[in-house]
């Protein structure tokens, strides 16, 4: 009666063999030569060392700017079409225009719609027009800004030569950057903290800064400041912008670090014309609204390339060149969260985890053997098999193992024997009720099953909830816990059953050693 069919035996052995097979890469000395489907477990940044940054794309600032230019366009349109308006304001959500005359309002509405694609104009019925992007257009615009930001972040990080960085979007306006092995994220944060919008502006040397401060500038000029706070009056419209740059490299000029750059043909032409027409004037080089330097134009620069001089060190020239090469971020980025673990701590954590696992395993094995003797030994086989299966599944799924994940493995070792204990206790009872050896062994497995499922499912529920709401390391814990529950239910029921069946068949005992 107590028999396992051949197909079941083969299935059980096949699953175990597959588990071992996929766990093997974890102890192989040279992991680089293995095929991509046969790899060891990925170690999380908290184990291998590295930096995890959560960045926010400041969409509001871009939108504010965008709405500002729509406001300018609207003003222009109303001036050209002689439409009288009472007020004109903008914020990141849209532009508001108050026009009293109803027919002008209708005319303006139609004209405003043509400013940009996806723009809607609403009349609130009280003479106030609301210009904003439609929800779809706004979502698309935001998506585009985030995608562009990711691209620029990727370019900047690639320049640093970090191995296998992971850069991806999270939610509507966030970017996750994972840099394995990186020890000093401060530099990366500095690099990512700059939008690096560069532009060249003519300086109005005649205007006095004092006048400028009192607001006596025309619409064509604006005030900008240098690094030390020195004021410059510069043209509102740039001669040429950073988007026309194709290359930038650090170099030296008269022993001083400088950044040499090259424009594309469009930018080179504009730059050439501007320098030709303004010899003797000063040209301000503005980076993120700060004037880096404002050299006097000595001669026309026609080749489309030039150098930026300024108060550079070798490092800062290098950084600026890198930023200019990789392009400007469409929006400023802000670091919301940073988690950096040094390689030393990571290695210590792995060591501690392995030590704790081995000791935990030894304690559990000792206790089971001390309580159940031979059957305890059978359980030990199941516990080791469970460990191998867990490693195999974790490797196969290429999940990331974190420190709490290791904790999950250790806990699973402790909890996994629960199923076996339930089974053995059931067998003991059946023997007590006068059942034969084989019947009792059989009943132990079948009668304990529903309790095993019940009790494991509650822990599984907790693991699933943790997976959905946890981030990073906690999620790693949830994954190992869930996998551990699944594999331990398999091994403690099938593997021990296989061993006990084999043992019963070979020795035909008259009594269960329970």
């Amino acid at each position: 009666m107590y028999k396992l069919s051949r197909s079941r035996v083969i299935t059980i052995l096949a699953i175990c063999a597959a588990g071992i097979f996929f766990a093997v890469p974890n102890i192989m000395p040279n992991k680089d030569v293995l095929p991509s489907w046969w790899q060891p477990i990925n170690l999380g940044l908290d184990l291998q060392g590295g930096s995890n940054l959560l960045l926010e794309v400041k969409l509001d600032e871009v939108l504010k700017e965008r709405m500002g230019s729509i406001e300018d366009a609207a003003r222009q349109i109303m001036r050209e079409n002689r439409i009288r308006y009472k007020s004109l304001t903008s914020n990141e959500n849209g532009v508001k225009v108050a026009i009293e005359n109803a027919s002008s309002r209708t005319r303006a509405t139609n004209l405003f719609r043509k400013i940009d694609e996806g723009i809607t104009v609403e009349d609130d019925g009280n003479g106030l027009l609301n210009i904003h992007y439609s929800d779809a257009a706004l979502a698309q615009l935001k998506r585009k800004i985030v995608d562009q930001s990711i691209e620029i972040v990727r370019r900047r990080i690639d320049e640093l030569g970090t191995k296998e960085p992971l850069i991806q979007s999270q939610g509507a306006d966030r970017i996750v950057v994972q840099l394995p092995g990186l020890q000093n994220p401060e530099y990366v944060k500095t690099l990512l903290g700059k939008t690096a919008k560069m532009s060249f502006h003519l300086v109005d040397s005649a205007a006095r800064a004092a006048d400028a401060k009192r607001g006596k500038l025309g619409g064509k000029y604006k005030l900008a400041y240098g690094e030390m706070g020195e004021p410059y009056v510069i043209s509102r419209k740039p001669v040429v912008g950073g988007e026309d740059l194709v290359d930038a490299q650090p170099s030296f000029q008269e022993g001083q670090a400088v950044v040499s750059f090259r424009f594309n043909s469009h930018g080179g032409k504009k730059f050439g014309e501007a320098t030709r027409d303004n010899i003797g004037e000063r040209l301000a080089i503005v980076l993120d609204n700060e004037v880096i330097s404002a050299p006097v134009i000595q001669s026309a620069i026609m080749g489309g390339s030039g150098v930026i001089t300024g108060d550079f060190t070798v490092e800062s020239a290098n950084d600026l060149a890198l930023l200019l090469r990789s392009g400007a971020l469409p929006a400023p980025l802000e670091v919301l969260e940073e988690r950096t673990v040094g390689a030393g701590l990571g290695a210590d954590s792995i060591e501690a985890g392995v030590t704790a696992s081995c000791i935990g395993l030894a304690a559990v094995v000792f206790f089971m053997v001390a309580a159940y003797g031979l059957f305890g030994l059978f359980t030990t086989v199941a516990v080791f098999m469970n460990l191998l299966l867990m490693l195999g599944v974790l490797s196969l799924m290429s999940t990331t193992l974190t420190l709490p994940g290791i904790a999950g493995i250790i806990l699973t070792i402790g909890m996994a024997v629960d199923a076996n204990v339930l089974i053995f206790e059931r067998m003991r009872e059946e023997v007590k009720n006068g059942r034969s050896t084989r019947d009792a062994a059989d009943a132990g497995f079948t009668e304990a099953w529903s309790t095993i499922v019940d009790s494991n499912l509650t822990t599984l529920v907790a693991a699933i909830v943790l997976f959905y709401f946890g981030t990073g390391p906690v999620r790693g814990f949830a994954v190992t816990l869930a996998i551990g529950i699944a594999t331990s239910m398999f091994t403690s029921v099938t593997v021990t059953r296989l061993i006990i069946t084999a043992w019963l068949n070979k020795y035909k005992p008259t009594k269960l050693p329970i």
């Binding site: 908290d46 940073e338 701590l345």
Partner: protein
């Protein structure tokens, strides 16, 4: 064979239900103390929830904590907290907050501290959590806990009669309250991993309760004439060896983690360790004892939903 623990697998006949009056008093006191502790002392929220920075640094020499506190005290930062770590005094944990709660200011602190300390140290860990993310993590933690409790209740409700679901939930809430009370009492770091530990504890606690309830239900069907108190006692005794064995193996595993698992996992391992103890206690003295208030037979439904085919 070295079956020195064979005694665990012996049959017992202990009258657990006799001491319920005392254990009711103990449980109620524990809960009241926990609530008092939480209201009076609050939690020592780690930076996961409060926001701020945490740096773990190591020096080749023994670190003079007071001197370092003086150095860092001159900086423009709030809630500076230095804590020595490990046995040999070469490691230290620095916690701090920016004066203004915004992301930029937080970021600045790391640089300030690094500059003030110089390059003689190894920076083993740097965590920065902006206030925005801190609030989100706090919210997620609460949602996760509530959903886990609801999901577990729903599951038990589905598998057992309502008195059982009620009892399991009371046991669960008892365990969670007493555990967080203990965390509050010792002012242990309350972080994301703590929430993970509490949810695991919840899983374990209910697991233990479910096994007991399974047996109670089985015995209700088997011994139709037995007095209910005797039946509860018998059920607990029936599975006592299992309770002890599984309790011990899980306790061993978490103890190994507590001792050898490193500083990062300490509060996590402690929570689990404690959870196993309180979870085992509560499945007998809270969840099962609670059933004594009801007449289980009256509502025992032979046709109870049972998708897994119980015996």
């Amino acid at each position: 064979m070295i079956r020195i623990f064979k005694w665990v697998t012996k049959d017992t006949n202990i009258n657990f239900m006799k001491s319920t009056k005392i254990t009711y008093a103990i449980s109620t006191t524990l809960i009241l103390l926990a609530v008092a502790c939480i209201t009076l002392k609050g939690f020592n929220f780690g930076i996961d929830f409060s926001g701020g920075i945490l740096m773990e640094i190591k020096s080749p020499e023994v670190i003079d904590v007071d001197a370092m506190r003086d150095t860092l005290g001159k900086l423009d930062i709030d809630e500076l907290n230095l804590q020595s770590m490990g046995e040999d005094g070469t490691e230290i944990v620095i916690r701090a907050q920016a004066k203004t709660l915004d992301e930029k200011a937080q970021m600045g602190i790391i640089n300030q501290i690094k500059e003030a300390l110089g390059s003689a140290y190894e920076y083993r860990r740097i965590d920065l959590v902006g206030p925005q993310v801190g609030d989100e993590l706090k919210k997620d933690g609460v949602i996760a806990s509530v959903i886990a409790i609801l999901a577990i209740t729903a599951y038990i409700w589905f598998r057992f009669e309502w008195q059982f679901a009620f009892g399991a939930i009371i046991g669960l809430i008892h365990d969670i309250l007493v555990t967080v009370g203990l965390l509050s009492l010792f002012q242990m770091d309350f972080s994301l991993t703590t929430v993970a530990a509490i949810l695991t504890l919840a899983g374990y606690s209910v697991n233990d309760t479910v096994v007991t309830y399974d047996r109670i239900r089985e015995n209700l069907r088997k011994y139709k004439k037995m007095n209910q108190t005797d039946l509860l006692n018998k059920s607990i005794n029936d599975i006592l060896s299992r309770t002890i064995l599984t309790g011990f193996t899980t306790l061993f595993a978490s103890l190994a983690l507590l001792i050898w698992g490193g500083d990062t996992l300490r509060s996590f391992a402690f929570t689990i360790f404690w959870g196993v103890i309180i979870g085992t206690y509560s499945s007998i003295y809270v969840s099962t004892a609670f059933l004594a208030f009801f007449d289980l037979r009256a509502s025992q439904n032979e046709e109870a939903i049972n998708p897994f085919g119980n015996a």
